[in-house]
């Protein structure tokens, strides 16, 4: 119950609980109140355009959303988007972290440049990519293709989801790089030197020393990125508006069209709860995968 340290003080027990209580209570309220209100609203008829229409709606809001033919497409698009961006940023981030760990002439400037995309506002970077890079008439990529004699590719018409994945990966790669680079700096140089003296090549060092060392950081990156990537909205809104068809409509954008544009608070809350459930499923899956690594 009350353990005693060598200094005679106690650890655990009632005193600690009462001191922790304010902080824990605050966090609990912070989490429970919005969640509770969202769940409450999702069972209500609450439309800002029709204030006279109130009352308990039961599962009506959920039914409307779950029978939307676009819902499964949106979930699939969300998972594709999150999955690809995670793969690109983690792999790219690891490789770049290894690169930036080396000492080379312009490392300082290169590091600043590599980290800056994360600080550009999502809408701004999406617009720059759409109008200046990927545009088939005015874009840099079109100009490059034409100077090589190839026809310019209309990115947002033929490869809409790929374009969004490229834009989002470009934005989030610096985040992964930053965290992984910091983790790299705690790599024990003596171990690497010993391995080199034993004749290990760079690839062997990477796979047997660097990667295991980075496992914890990689799991952190995956978890944090997943939380944000599930709700990507700005890039889609500014470039393709969810189209063509449903090609780039993810769950967040679907909820926006179905509920928020109609000022339907009840349905938007139902959409939010569905998104929470999806996020939790993905999280459980990832946490299980990652928990194995954290055990080491």
């Amino acid at each position: 119950m009350n353990r005693t340290r060598t200094s005679g003080r106690t650890v655990g027990g009632l005193r600690t609980l009462s001191l922790q209580a304010p902080a824990v209570t605050l966090l609990l309220l912070w989490m429970i109140v919005p969640l509770g209100m969202t769940i409450w609203f999702s069972f209500q008829r609450y439309n800002l355009l029709m204030p006279e229409m109130t009352g308990f709606a039961g599962l009506e809001n959920y039914e409307y959303l779950l029978t939307d033919p676009a819902l499964w497409s949106a979930m699939g698009t969300t998972l594709l988007l999150v999955g690809w961006v995670l793969v690109i940023t983690v792999v790219g981030g690891t490789l770049l972290a290894v690169l930036f760990q080396q000492d080379f002439a312009v490392r300082g400037i290169a590091r600043v440049l590599a980290i800056s995309p994360f600080f550009v506002m999502p809408t701004v970077s999406a617009l720059v990519w759409k109008n200046m890079m990927m545009h088939p008439s005015n874009g840099v990529l079109a100009w490059l293709a034409q100077s090589l004699g190839l026809p310019a590719l209309d990115w947002f018409s033929s490869l809409p989801l790929t374009s969004i994945i490229i834009i989002v990966s470009w934005q989030w790669l610096p985040f992964a790089l930053l965290i992984l680079l910091t983790a790299m700096q705690s790599l024990d140089e003596d171990q690497v030197e010993a391995a080199r003296m034993d004749g290990a090549g760079p690839l062997a060092i990477f796979f047997f020393i660097t990667l295991p060392h980075l496992k914890r950081a990689i799991s952190v990156v995956i978890m944090i990125e997943m939380i944000f990537l599930l709700t990507i909205f700005a890039e889609i809104f500014v470039t393709t508006s969810g189209g063509p068809g449903l090609a780039t409509t993810n769950l967040a954008y679907l909820i926006y069209i179905q509920a928020l544009l109609d000022f339907d608070v009840g349905m938007a809350s139902a959409g939010g709860v569905i998104a929470i459930i999806l996020a939790n499923i993905v999280a459980i899956f990832l946490v299980r995968m990652v928990a194995k690594n954290l055990e080491d």
Binding site: L49, M50, M53, Y64, D68, P69, K130, N131, H135, P136, S137, N138, A152, D154, F156, S157, S158, T239, T240, S241, G242, G243, P244, G245, L246, A247, T249, I257, Q258, L261, D262, F263
Partner: protein, 247 residues
């Protein structure tokens, strides 16, 4: 979607019949959207499905496009020699007509509002009065050039000789504003107000969803018929939910 709506109107179609049933898979819609898709696929610029007002303005003012159908508010920028390469070689005409001139040219306006919760209502009112006054128009004309004057805001602008001599489109725009009729915008009668939009709050959602499906038809992902069928279903769902029509 604004242009698409006027295109549908002039082909004889409408968004909703008088009982608010959507008519998105009617023959008129099919003809209009097929024409639209053919025209843009064969003669339109690449990237048409994601080009908005600004992108088209850039394309046209640099001489990359020969024809552009859009709002009269673009005229000021296009006739301004410092912003447009084609200022000296421009012409203009009313939008083309297919079966009926009704609803073939749209009407839209912008407004300035003061929120009821504002703590500086008088100051806001004063600012708005100044920003929409004759003196302001004079100020713009003298500082930025008479083609940049905000069009379609005051009658006095159109009586001002300096404006009418610098902007050859002035009389045309004034006529277009006077002739567009949002209460009588389609061949067959319709229950809504608006030429290129439907004046109900749900239209934001409906317009976006239909726009998505038409973009899919434009990029060739779906056929025009499939796109219009799915647009019809989506609109019916929204209208049922909003209570305009029975399930």
């Amino acid at each position: 979607m604004a242009f698409v709506s006027t295109l549908v109107n002039t082909f004889g179609g409408r968004w909703f019949d008088e009982q608010w049933n959507p008519e998105l898979n009617s023959e008129a819609w099919n003809n209009a959207i097929s024409f639209y898709v053919d025209l843009l696929s064969n003669y339109g610029p690449p990237g048409a499905s994601s080009n908005g007002f600004n992108e088209n303005l850039a394309l046209f003012s640099r001489g990359n496009c020969a024809m552009w159908v859009d709002a009269t508010s673009a005229a000021g920028k296009l006739y301004d020699e410092s912003e447009s390469d084609v200022a000296g070689t421009l012409g203009f005409a009313p939008a083309p007509i297919a079966e009926t001139p009704k609803g073939s040219h749209w009407l839209w306006s912008w407004a300035l509002a003061i929120p009821a919760s504002s703590e500086h209502k008088e100051a806001a009112q004063e600012f708005i009065t100044w920003a929409t006054s004759e003196e302001y128009i004079e100020l713009v004309g003298e500082t930025n050039g008479w083609t940049s004057v905000p069009p379609g805001t005051r009658e006095s602008t159109y009586a001002n000789e300096q404006y009418t001599s610098a902007a050859p489109f002035a009389g045309f725009v004034l006529n277009a504003i006077k002739e567009a009729d949002p209460t009588d915008s389609s061949l067959e009668p319709n229950p809504y107000v608006g030429v290129q939009f439907v004046g109900i709050p749900e239209f934001q959602s409906i317009g976006t969803q239909v726009g998505q499906t038409i973009a899919a038809a434009l990029t060739g992902d779906t056929s025009v018929e499939q796109a219009l069928d799915s647009a019809q279903r989506a609109t019916e769902r929204t209208m049922q939910r909003a209570g305009y029509i029975e399930r």
